[in-house]
């Protein structure tokens, strides 16, 4: 192969090639092309995003582990800790939705238990295209089956998520999976830093096949039509095998039989071994011929790059190896020594007795390129000087409203989470049917909440606002249930970073997200960047999805999501900063700006209300505005009556029945509770809307509608939209 073709094959640019030459002080040879290709891929090296991720707010006193390890860890006090992270599996899921989504779940679970934490919950964030777009029903079906198939079998409940639809994802869906792991007082945290000269490098788990060879560099490339013909790249997941791996790895870690451990994720054995060595400032001798293979035709380069699933690499003292092996054998798995740790900082790779390369791991890991991609200063976008939203007649409103409630954007997602086991582990207090999911922690019995965020339509309005919203909205949802947001993980899904407008949105949304995290003291402790979500020149909506965890220590009962009885008093607590034309007309325009510190204060105040024992139910007003939020609280067919004068007062502001104001929160409280006086504050408004009633939503003279009829439309909406997907 001539050089040009070789560089193209390995997706190494001319500049990168020059850099390789100068680092090596010689020409790269043989297998080294493959090593650089994998470790310098966008996916492994974060070369376009690193300069921006460096300055994130990622530490506070509760953070035990942040960026740089497989997942972040925070201390919850009382001897408990959690590890969590979110990761994308967009490209593989578009190619083969079932396996793509399944292996996405498997991969994020490994990131968690690699650290010694037992995975206790998963969440997923999904963006699909128009339901009429080619293959879309098949993609939705495959992704949901894949997530369920893997999570259910491995025994980790999938307890929350978010599902969006927009044409910008027609040829590039998003599948982001999050997982949360738990450490009890006696559990050990493990890290991936290799150390101890003479220690064994041990390969554990599935045998290596040709699956996903060049997967890492493929995920770092824009999509072209023929990607779906790249047959050999499909990775096959085996949740049953993963379950065995979880149990055995946690056992060897708790028995202190391992020095360091790392899962083989993107770029498989290469990235795991090189990163472990680079972190420990040591080297390794690795005998590739001793790697267990699925079939004998797998060669050294494929061994290095294979992304076969369910494999781990660990470092073990020679004297503990027999005991370690015993644990794996008990679980039906094999542990094979494939090399050892050496003091000289060099990776020496053998194939039988031949040395394939001797190379300093730092050259590939720490010296990978970092690009300052071009971007522009953010300017507020899509602002209107005035916003006139017409509120129509009652009949017309009712018609519009029913259409919204039954639309794919507005209808129930129970078709999705009804295929996920939400209770295995017996910790689930609030399942995916709730706006915030809650688990009980084993040791302290405190509530741990999980919510995901990022609303693509807000991103289409303004990336800076959208970045703030990606944290503020779910944090507000947590607060409305009395939870404090502790920390955040993110999954930054963007198009081509080489385009100025994409990179500008990346920078702006990250800035918004980060400033807000700092304002509420919720560090971003882990995350993932997925660039090149571009197909044939079309980019997805920039979608920085987030995963939040929150804690609530008191044992007061949690506010429900719905009105429970007639005659509850209903309040709207509001801090109107941005008036938004809303998700209804797809034309994302609005008015106003966020004031971050005021917003942070608002969230703190909402948190106090959410923890108030007199609160019966709560909900953040989100997509489609007030009427929709009230309807969602009426799932038990208890509605609300708002008097005409109250309605008129609300509508004197630039808002419609179905448009959003950032932000407003609804509470229903016991009839005897004087909520207004208890929480009076000049930093936000509280409006008493009215009282709950049976069977109807009455919004002054603007809208009167039967809740049972709406619920019926809401619950059958999915099936109505997806006729072919019984």
């Amino acid at each position: 192969m001539d050089l040009i073709r070789k560089l193209k094959h390995y997706r190494i640019s001319q500049d990168e090639y020059k850099k390789i030459q100068s680092l090596l002080k010689r020409e790269p040879k043989g297998i080294e092309f493959a090593l650089f290709s994998a470790l310098w891929s966008e996916h492994c090296s974060y070369k376009s995003s690193r300069v921006h991720l460096k300055n994130l707010y990622r530490e506070n006193k509760t953070v035990l582990q942040s960026f740089g390890e497989n997942a972040g860890i925070i201390d919850l006090g009382e001897g408990e800790k959690i590890a969590f992270k979110m990761e994308s599996h967009n490209h593989p899921s578009y190619i083969e939705p079932f396996q793509g989504a399944a292996t996405g779940v498997g991969g994020i679970l490994r990131d968690i238990f690699t650290m010694g934490a037992r995975p206790i919950a998963s969440a997923n964030y999904l963006c699909f295209g128009d339901i009429q777009a080619p293959r879309m029903q098949e993609l939705v079906d495959g992704v949901v089956r894949g997530i369920g198939g893997y999570g259910n079998c491995v025994g980790v409940p999938t307890i929350t998520g978010q599902t969006e639809f927009h044409r910008s994802y027609n040829k590039n869906i998003l599948v982001n999976a999050m997982s949360v792991g738990y450490f009890g007082p006696k559990d050990v945290i493990c890290i991936s830093r290799a150390k101890g000269v003479g220690n064994l490098v041990v390969y554990v788990g599935a045998k290596t096949g040709k699956d996903g060879v060049h997967g890492a560099s493929m995920a770092s490339e824009s999509f072209s039509e023929d990607s779906s013909h790249k047959k050999p790249n499909v990775q096959i997941g085996d949740p049953f095998f993963e379950k065995l791996l979880i149990e055995s790895c946690i056992e060897v870690m708790n028995k202190e039989l391992v020095v360091a451990i790392q899962d083989m994720g993107a770029a498989g054995l290469t990235s795991s071994s090189f990163e472990m060595a680079a972190k420990g400032k040591v080297g390794m001798e690795i005998h590739l011929d001793q790697v267990p293979l699925r079939d004998s035709t797998v060669g050294p380069e494929e061994i290095l790059l294979s992304e076969s699933q369910e494999r781990m690499l660990l470092i073990c003292e020679p004297k503990k190896f027999e005991e370690l092996k015993g644990v794996f054998t008990h679980w039906g798995l094999e542990a094979s020594p494939i090399g050892k740790v050496i003091s000289e900082q060099v990776m020496r790779l053998y194939w039988h007795n031949e040395i394939l390369t001797e190379i300093d791991p730092d050259l590939l890991v720490d010296n990978c390129p970092a690009y300052k991609r071009e971007f522009s200063e953010w300017k507020a976008k899509n602002r209107l000087s005035e916003l006139k939203i017409l509120v129509a007649e009652e009949k017309e409103n009712e018609k519009t409203f029913k259409k919204i409630v039954g639309s794919i954007e507005g209808c129930s997602r129970s078709w999705i989470y009804g295929q996920y086991d939400q209770r295995v582990g017996a910790r689930t207090e609030r399942d995916a049917n709730h706006s915030v999911s809650v688990l009980r922690l084993d040791h302290s019995n405190r509530g741990l909440a999980i919510a995901v965020g990022c609303r693509p339509y807000v991103m289409r309005f303004d990336a800076y606002v959208g970045g703030i919203d990606a944290v503020a909205y779910p944090a507000l949802e947590m607060a409305a249930k009395g939870f404090t947001t502790l920390a955040v993980t993110d999954c930054l899904n963007f198009g081509n970073p080489e385009k100025n407008e994409i990179m500008s949105e990346f920078v702006a949304s990250l800035k918004g997200m980060n400033s807000f995290c700092e304002a509420i003291d919720a560090p971003i402790i882990s995350g993932n960047v997925s660039f090149y979500n571009e197909t044939e020149g079309e980019n997805i909506t920039s979608t920085p999805s987030t995963g939040l965890v929150g804690l609530r220590s008191d044992k007061q009962s949690l506010p429900q999501d719905s009105f429970q009885n007639k005659a509850e008093r209903v309040y709207l607590v509001r801090l109107p900063q941005i008036y938004f034309e809303g998700a209804v007309n797809n034309n994302a325009k609005g008015l106003g700006e966020f004031n971050i510190s005021k917003l942070a204060y608002f969230i703190k105040s909402i948190e106090k209300m959410g923890a108030d024992g007199d609160v019966i139910s709560s909900r953040v007003v989100g997509k489609f505005g007030l009427a929709y939020a009230l309807f969602r609280m009426a799932s038990l067919n208890i509605g609300v009556e708002i008097k005409s004068d109250v309605m008129a007062q609300l509508l004197s502001e630039p808002r419609g029945l179905f448009s959003e104001v950032f932000y407003e929160v609804l509470f229903s409280v016991k009839a005897a509770c004087d909520f207004l006086n208890r929480y009076r504050d000049n930093q936000y408004h509280i409006v008493e809307l009215g009282s709950t009633i049976a069977e109807k939503l009455i919004l002054g003279d603007k809208l009167v509608v039967s809740t049972s009829e709406l619920n019926q439309i809401y619950n059958s909406g999915w099936e109505a939209n997806f006729e072919g997907l019984a």
Partner: protein
């Protein structure tokens, strides 16, 4: 305080949940590993937890049913020891011949997770003994292969001998005769698809499940 054997197969994933349920009810749980025989006489009751033993590969429960521990469980059955199968445990007991019938793919061909109302048809003298005939309770279900099947004569016989333990109020999976749980003829072996160990406390959504384990505390 009864000493209870909790069976564990590769892929069992409700093992800790079942363990905790036994403990909370005052029983004394002990693991029984699939690859080993055990002495049935040493235990007063047995639980076969839910999950995906062997990944549900081939047929759910089929591979687990052929393990050494199941030989010992058959002995336990001869001794008349109480045995409870939950979800995958139900599938394993059927595959092992300790209960009649089989559990096949849900009629809708999808995994179903939800709360489900079930009705007690014929009480068991050991498991959930304090729940009365015709009483209805709510328990979570979560399964892909929960559709009970047996031949007509078998079902008829089971009805006659009061072996039908639980029925769904609304059938979620196409189960014959709405069957959610059954017993063997002697009544010592019982199994159901719903998960009592996931409904032990009000905060879980309901606490009907704790009734299943009360006998373990005495």
């Amino acid at each position: 305080m009864k000493k209870c054997g909790v069976l564990r197969f590769p892929g069992t994933n409700c093992d800790f949940d079942t363990w905790k349920a036994v403990e909370k009810s005052g029983g004394k749980p002990e693991w029984l590993w699939h690859a080993d025989h055990f002495n049935a006489k040493e235990f007063e009751a047995f639980l076969v937890p839910g999950g995906f033993s062997y990944g549900d590969y081939l047929r759910s429960g089929a591979l687990a049913a052929r393990s050494p521990a199941m030989d010992s469980l058959r002995e336990a059955n001869h001794l008349g020891r109480p045995i409870l199968g939950i979800c995958n445990g139900f599938q394993i007991l059927c595959e092992a011949g300790l209960l009649e019938g089989a559990l096949i793919k849900n009629a809708g061909l999808r995994f179903v997770d939800s709360w489900s109302e079930i009705k007690l048809v014929n009480p068991s003298s050991f498991w959930a003994a304090n729940i009365k005939k015709d009483e209805r309770i709510n328990l979570p279900i979560a399964h892909g292969d929960g559709r009970y099947y047996a031949e007509k004569d078998t079902i008829k016989k089971m009805q006659d001998r009061e072996q039908i333990w639980w029925q769904y109020v609304v059938n979620p999976n196409g189960s014959l005769n709405d069957i959610a749980g059954i017993k063997n003829e002697k009544g010592n072996v019982g199994a159901l698809m719903p998960h009592p160990e996931r409904a032990l406390f009000a905060w879980m959504g309901a606490d009907f499940g704790k009734n299943f384990f009360t006998a373990l505390g005495h």
